[in-house]
């Protein structure tokens, strides 16, 4: 069975540049639109990069701002100042 990691974000103005950064930085990511939310799945791992989001919103962005938009996730979390990532480790 494919090991899917997943992140679900609200479908809002704040979240859309993050969604765009994810789809650009994670080839093969599959985007599902549901009412009010967007669920992004990818096999194995998925990363959100600070630089990619900042490029799109034109200001500093702290990866912890993700807390304002996230709805759900699947996978083990690793977060630091420059990224937030999800992966199945084994």
């Amino acid at each position: 069975m494919p090991r899917i990691v997943s992140i679900t974000l609200q479908n809002t103005d704040t979240a859309r540049p993050i969604i765009e950064a994810i789809t650009t930085d994670n080839p093969g990511a599959v985007v599902h639109d549901y009412p009010g939310i967007v669920k992004i799945d990818r096999e194995g791992s998925l990363i959100i990069r600070r630089a990619s989001v900042e490029e799109r919103i034109g200001r500093d962005w702290d990866p912890q701002e993700l807390h304002l938009s996230v709805v759900s996730m699947a996978g083990n979390v690793d977060e630091d100042d420059d990224y937030f990532s999800l992966a199945w480790s084994h």
């Binding site: 899917i4 009010g36 912890q64 759900s72 100042d81």
Partner: protein
Amino acid sequence: MNAIGKLGLKQRYALLTRGLDWEPSYQPRDKVFPYAAFEGIKVHDWSKWEDPFRLTMDAYWKFQAEKERKLYAVLDSFAQNNGQLGLTDARYVNAIKLFLTGVSPLEYQAHRGFAHTGRHLPGIGPRIAAQMQSLDELRHVQTQVHTISHYNKFFDGFHDWQHMHDRVWYLSVPKSFFDDARTGGPFEFMIAIGFSFEYVLTNLLFVPFMSGAAYNGDLATVTFGFSAQSDESRHMTLGIEVIKFLLEQDPDNLPIVQKWVDKWFWRGHRVLGLVAMMMDYMLPRKIMSWREAWDIYFTEAGGSLFEDLARYGLRPPRYADVATAEAEHISHQNWAIFYQYTHAAAFHTWLPSDEEMDWLSEKYPNTFDKYYRPRLEMWREMEKEGKRFYNNGLPQLCTTCQIPMGYTEPGDPGTICFRTSEFRGETYHFCSDGCKDIFDDEPEKFAQSWLPVHQIFQGNCGGASVEDVLRWYRMNLGADNMDQAGSPDQRQWDAWMEARRRVAG
């Protein structure tokens, strides 16, 4: 402060947790943490704990304050602008009645449970994470009480939700679930709520349901739901970290943790049957069937998770296959129970329309037309003849999940499933092998269950007639209960819609 500013996130968080911990000197550790040993869990080195989310207190308050500002602006606006008029249909409110009276009090239980656990876990990392979760859960119940307050101005069934939560027969299902978790030890609580409920099952509660609210014009519920859910992902990572940590610490923990995973998966599956019914029968505009939600959030997401945990020897929960097979049946069986007992519930019921039945046929090609449509059509005929079917007996309840014994045998949807156990000369009844196993493992605990039907027969619920009991529940008879058609809710809604048509000309 400048020096702090230069530290990386991981260092800052380590200072908050490890840096603020201390060794007690006035009392020995086992007196400070008296509940840490009795469950048999062995922890050799708490410093091996990996923090899931690294949210320092300043960031925590900053982000939570931002969430609250957004949330209350929307709730206030919803109230000011009579947002309830924008709902798809008055029937929708019944789903919210069930959610706000059944689930919202659990947020408060979670607040208390995590406060207690946060106090009693000997490791500083999980203690801080549990403390933050406790504060989150208090925030969640507050936001939901504000939503209750608004809906209560316009619709029936919300007026005494706390009183009802401790008494009403179907609300005892979610209540007893959390009572069971909170009366376990701190490690069982973390596996029960942190792992099994938050990580494995909460997506099935919040995500499809809040998306359903978004699809049905319920801005208030969408807003509190997604605001809560943004904390939930932090809670999920705490849950997965706890289970990995316990399994890494000592191989003797595996059988204990496995038993809890089996127990709490099954208990959660039973509680979520209420959500199954909300999704398949109660949302006027439906987003996905329970079966589809189960496939996405349990079979697919849970499959990846348990594959990841297999390296510790943990297997997927026992009876996961039975639960997956039940996803074809459970919403239909639950709605049938509530339809029969509509006189005793503080929300309204109805029979699905032709279009809705066709949707159910399409979503449940293996089961709906064969087992459930004929019964609904028969009840519709009976309604037309003026013989609307009410079940006037009191149902036998499962001692573990407290749900009326309306479920069927695995693989045989024509036969009701009954299981029994003997304990201290008494016979106890169960709806499934999953519920029987849970009782058999802790009979002293479950023999004390406050079962609503038993309590009625023992004379502890206000009197001998159904009406006496409903008054003791503080239900407004003829307003809170019975069918949606003809209810004060429906009359009020029709008047609003008529006024709107007049204004529109």
